[in-house]
Every structure is written in C-alpha cells, then in structure tokens.
Amino acid sequence: MATEISGINNSAFTQALDQIKEAGKPGQSSSVAQTDGLDFGAAVEAHARKAVDIAKTAEMNNMKAINGEVDLPELVQSVTNAETTLRTVVAIRDRLVQAYQEIIKMPV
C-alpha cells in the first residue's frame, strides 16, 4: 500500500512539476509581461525543487519502513508532508493552466 501511494505521488509530482516549470518559463506565452515572467519562473522553479526534495524524503522513508528501519511517526510525518506538498503543487498548476487558458481565449 505504501509503495502504491508513493508511486502515485511520484508520477503526479513529475507531471505537475513539469507543467509548472513550462508555465513559469519566460517567452513561452508572449501575452505575459516579460519582466514578470522572469522572476516568477525562477521563484516557481525554486519551489518545485523543494517539493521534489520532500517527495524524495517520503519515498526514502517508505522504503526504510518496509525494511523496518524507520519508526511509524517518522513515516507518517514524511508521507503527510509529501501529500500536502503534492496538493499545493497541483493547486498551483491548475490555477496557472486556468490563467493561461483565459489569456489564450482573449481575441487578438
């Protein structure tokens, strides 16, 4: 069960983070102001790195728990952190995609 959950975390994470990185890159969507896009992209990428670290810790603790090396509270702590981070990342991605789509809808 633990590995299944972490497997879901991993694939959803990878996709979400990739999409966020794409949305945050400057020059990708010409309708976004260039200066804003530069800072925003860097900030988003920094946050994405942190999120990946959290997911990696959770994955490691999962494997250790299966081997019996890590205590139950630690495992619950890391899985809760990873789950919350995943939710945050997905919510941000959804908003970014929504904003992008609304901008695209604008008649030129």
């Binding site: 205590d71 509270p73 630690e74 619950v76 702590q77 809760t80 952190n81 789950e83 919350t84 981070t85 939710r87 945050t88 919510a91 941000i92 959804d94 908003r95």
Partner: protein
C-alpha cells in the same frame, strides 16, 4: 499556515509520539515484571521504572520539542508478602515483592495512550487546516 509551518508541527508531534511510546515501554516493563522477585532472600526484587520528560528547544525549526529527561527507578519500599515456601523467603517467611502497583500502571497506560492520540490529532488537525486553505485556490 504555510507548508513550512505544517512540517514543523509534524516534527513536534512526532517527538511527542516518540516520548509517549517510550513511556508505554516503561509501563509495559513494569507490568510484565510485577511479580519478578529476587532469587534469594538477600537479592532485591524488580524495582519499578520511572520516566521523566523535558522540553528541548530545537534550533533549526525554532520549536519546543519533548525529549526523555531520565529513565530512573522508583525508590519506594518493597511490599512484603507472606510465603514461607518461596525460595526468596527470609527467616520469617516474608518475600519482598516488586513495588509495582497494577492500578497505577494501568492508569498510566491510559494517560500515555490519550497523550499519544492527542499528538496524532494535532497532525490530523493541521493537515485539514492546510487542505481547507488550498481549497480556496481551487475555486
């Protein structure tokens, strides 16, 4: 309630859970050894174990976590039981029994259980707070 806050709260609750499970361990040792007398009249029986906690300031998170201060022993007198046939009976037929009171240990166990559950509820409550906050973004 930021993500960092959530992780700090989680680590605080984890330290609480560790402390309470250590307490549970000492209690279960006491309960298991409630009848462990010495082998001879001169030898002491099992002495009840005690555990104390202390608050520790964790520098990197800035939080007050809990830690085991000391695992000690209860210094009270051993009760005496009249059993002349016991190998550890003295010349009057009295055997010194461990100073473990079963009722006290069971109440302590319930306390440890409730404290542990309270720590788990902290984790759960914080998690639902963060979720509710994220739902605002979804709309």
């Amino acid at each position: 309630m930021s993500n960092i806050q959530l992780m700090n709260i989680n680590s605080i609750s984890t330290s609480g859970m560790h402390a309470q499970s250590q307490r549970m361990r000492i209690i279960s040792e006491n309960v298991a050894n409630a009848d462990s007398t010495g082998q001879t009249a001169g030898e002491d029986p099992y002495r009840r174990g005690t555990i104390t906690f202390k608050s520790v300031f964790d520098r990197e998170t800035g939080a007050n976590k809990v830690e085991i201060a000391k695992i000690g022993q209860d210094g009270s007198d051993f009760p005496q039981k009249y059993e002349p046939s016991h190998p550890a009976a003295d010349e009057n037929g009295y055997v010194r029994m461990p100073n473990v009171n079963m009722i006290v240990e069971l109440m302590d166990m319930r306390q440890a259980q409730r404290s542990y559950e309270a720590n788990v509820m902290m984790m759960d409550g914080t998690r639902s707070m963060v979720r509710k906050t994220l739902e605002v973004m979804r709309g």
